[in-house]
Subunit: 127 residues, 2 copies
Amino acid sequence: MIFPEEFVDLLVRPLFAHVTTIRPDGAIQTNPMWYSWDGSSVRLTTTRDRQKFGNVSADPRISLSIHDPERPYRYLELRGTVSDIEPDPDGKFFDELASRYSMHFDELPDRPRRVVIAVSPQSASWQ
Amino acid sequence: MIFPEEFVDLLVRPLFAHVTTIRPDGAIQTNPMWYSWDGSSVRLTTTRDRQKFGNVSADPRISLSIHDPERPYRYLELRGTVSDIEPDPDGKFFDELASRYSMHFDELPDRPRRVVIAVSPQSASWQ
């Protein structure tokens, strides 16, 4: 494990990760995103027509910063690369995440364009 | 203004910005930070011996992502470059920020190494 066990709750709880990728012009892009954690990798959902997908397809570098809303000085940062991008044409993973975040979408027009981005964290920092 | 007026509260309120810089090895680094906003630039505090200072000294690219803790899907992202790094040897700006965040530090051993990082946002996204 690249970070102390006592920070794992920040990955297990449905919080918001500020996810950073690099745009083709080199500018840095950061957005809050849903995520899930299986004990070794983080998974995110996006669509093929979004900037973020283009960014990680061209440059796999990525970081996630998650802080504890109840104790905002407590945070975990994961740095690494995108290890896999899988199609999610039925939006199954999207629905999994939506349910984790207590949301539900019947109508989701971008379902056919959904992908799962898997991230392998290589290093971490915390406070 | 590069973002709608209705998002300015996210800069005016003492929230936490997830600030991203690029490390010398190219890895992306994101951390929650205090900030202030004067209507045109964002200011941050760090010290000369921190990774973040080394990062922005070598590569001025920076982004900030701030979401609303009461409405977590509402966020503002600013992208840009560091326009200025000024010494803050008395930690005066640090104290200003600490007070903005309702904190107070009498003892601050790194005061002599404090600097103010000014960021000029060049583009923005929001939701």
